[in-house]
Amino acid sequence: MLGADAMAKCLEAEGVEAVFGYPGVAICPFFNSMLSNNIDRILVRTEQNAAHAANGYARVSGKAGVCVATSGPGATNLITGIATAYADSIPLVCITGQVDSSLLGSDVFQEADITGAVESFVKYSYLIRKVEDIPRIFKEAFYIASTGRRGPVLIDVPIDIQNSTLNKFKYPEEVNLRTYKPTVKGHAVQIKKVINALSKAKRPIICAGGGVILSGAQKELQEFSHKNNIPVVSTMMGIGVMPTMDPLYFGMVGNNGKSYANRAMNDSDLLVMIGARVADRAVSQPDLVTENTVVIHIDVDPAEIGKNVGPTIPLVGDIKTIFEDLMDKEIDADYSEWIDTLNTYKADVKPRKKPDDKFVDPCEFITRLSQKLDDDCIYVADVGQNQMWSCGYHIVKKGQFLTSGGMGTMGYSIPAAIGARRAAKDRQIVAVCGDGSFQMSMMELATMQQHKLPVKIIIFHNGYLGLVREYQYNTYKGNYSVVDLSGSPDFSILAKAYGIECIVAENMSDIDEKIDEFLRLKEPVIMDVMIDPMYVVK
């Protein structure tokens, strides 16, 4: 057996269903060995999107996503996708081909020091030097990526290692990592402190982040919140921890969040941060929040605790396990008055400025769309104004909300939706992007068609890089620089070129019919939604 055969066998042993990748000479032995198994080999159109597709796959399947690229430019093209996964703690195993071991360090054709280049964006990386190490390293890579705080792991495999003979293949059953033992169970003393603090509190609030979803603890969070009548807000990555319409859910916090969610957090006397990093977009002034508030910080990563906000009660462990422990305990408190207050905050929302009615109102559009979506729909938002509108107006029922929160990588939605489709063949999947972010990943329409991984795509089309323009409007008094998207193609014709149906929605007059048609048509289908270019900036 060759090293490359062993790599393919390792993926089989891990139960991998699909790899997203792009070949090149240095990874050809691996792709050749992949011909002898049933794992899908999905050819993306640029390597960055292989990582995004693996990311979408991982978030829907709950298993590590796998992406593969060749040495040099193939590997460096992966970096943005790896950094995106790292920022949102998404488990990926990234496999790169490398030049011959004997040539390493001599700057030969398509050589890049990829393990060095990704050092700050990976949980761990390996450069394989001996063919015998392949089974152990693959086993460790999948284990590290998908335990503790999830994240990407990169394996760089020189071509001569892929072509070397491995006499005996045995995939290890267990990992033996002397230096990596993530904490699962929360400390009993700390759990008791949490319960006591909740019993004493008058105005508690749970702020749930993406960690709750990564731990698969949505159900546990909802049960805990309902059992004890504790209100919940979420960060952007936490959208979907609870149905939007749950009476105890009070929206997304942060500078792009709901005013009543921020007010709830600021007025609370006990803040329970769960699986959230307390980063600047969610909590811009952590010192203010903590001034009069007891902070409980629950996270699987001890380094997150105390990084941006000094907690009164730290609690390290897997969130699902911690909720199971918390559910056993009784909290003696009545928060109904506080919930009433929060409901008055919620009712006290200033009316939103409406755009010109010659165009589609994106917020109203998203509200109506999401009411019509399947209960378990996977909604993938890109980055930009489309993302802000999606966060603000998409109504999650039982589905998932995917977006690039930490890194804010434009072009994420289409490849991530394609990856999500590979993980969920029967669910409704809608990717929502702007005309800027669409053009960053529109080459993946071909991937979608070739591999029969169709999704529904909505393009909010205003001819500008809207969120940057909004920033320039606010910061540079309307001096707009490099945000005009003139020269963009006609998306209907483009869709036709790929053999994809496209619906154009020009204004609100027939929007319900247009949405119904969009949802009725079998995917792939694109909806080109015309947005007032002056909305928000006049």
Binding site: T115, G116, E119, S120, K123, Y124, L127, I144, L177, R178, T179, Y180, D301, P302, A303, I305, G306, K307, G310
Partner: protein, 173 residues
């Protein structure tokens, strides 16, 4: 700003030092000195890092370093419960008369002259940092050509604070 000495036991893998120093540089932590050497068990390397920052930063340093997959343990070597040593080599200009004066200072500090040339000396001194600093200040009146300092190595005192026993690793795991 406080100063702390951390002792790390890490997997002796290629690139481990760059992973640790890379973490310090990208998060903007200071390294005043870093020394590394293999332990009795060749699977592990002992690294001693002297760093400084306010308490929040020092706490983050400890947690972020602990998080690296290659790091088996990180403990603080506190001044009360530890001993630190550093090696200094200094090349100083010395003609025949200066040689005698300098050797008096060398004797007081229990340093050694390890090389003599017509117009210069190389002195070695092992000690903690205040001792080395004091010695260098005694040489201020002479012309120093070069100094080489190793950065500190340290161990905790007694047997109570041994986080890792070098010849008993496998039993502990």
């Amino acid at each position: 700003m406080n100063k702390k000495v951390f002792q790390l036991i890490v997997d002796n893998t290629s690139g481990v030092l760059s992973r640790i120093s890379g973490l310090f540089s990208r998060r903007g932590y200071n390294i005043e000195s870093i020394t590394a050497g293999v332990t009795m068990d060749p699977k592990f390397t002992r690294i001693t890092i002297v760093t400084s920052g306010d308490d929040d930063i020092l706490e983050q340093i400890e947690k972020q370093v602990a998080k690296l997959i290659d790091v088996r343990s990180i403990v603080e070597l506190t001044p009360e419960n530890s001993v630190y040593r550093e090696l200094l080599m200094v090349k100083v200009k010395a003609d025949a008369t200066q040689r005698v004066e300098i050797s008096t200072v060398v004797d007081i500090f229990r340093a050694n002259i390890i090389d003599v040339a017509v117009d210069s000396l190389i002195i070695e001194l092992i000690g903690n940092q205040p001792k080395i600093d004091a010695f260098l200040s005694m040489l201020e009146g002479y012309e120093i050509f070069e100094t080489a300092r190793t950065g500190i190595a340290g161990l905790s005192r007694g047997t109570e604070n041994i986080s890792y026993k070098e010849n008993k690793v496998d039993k502990q795991l």
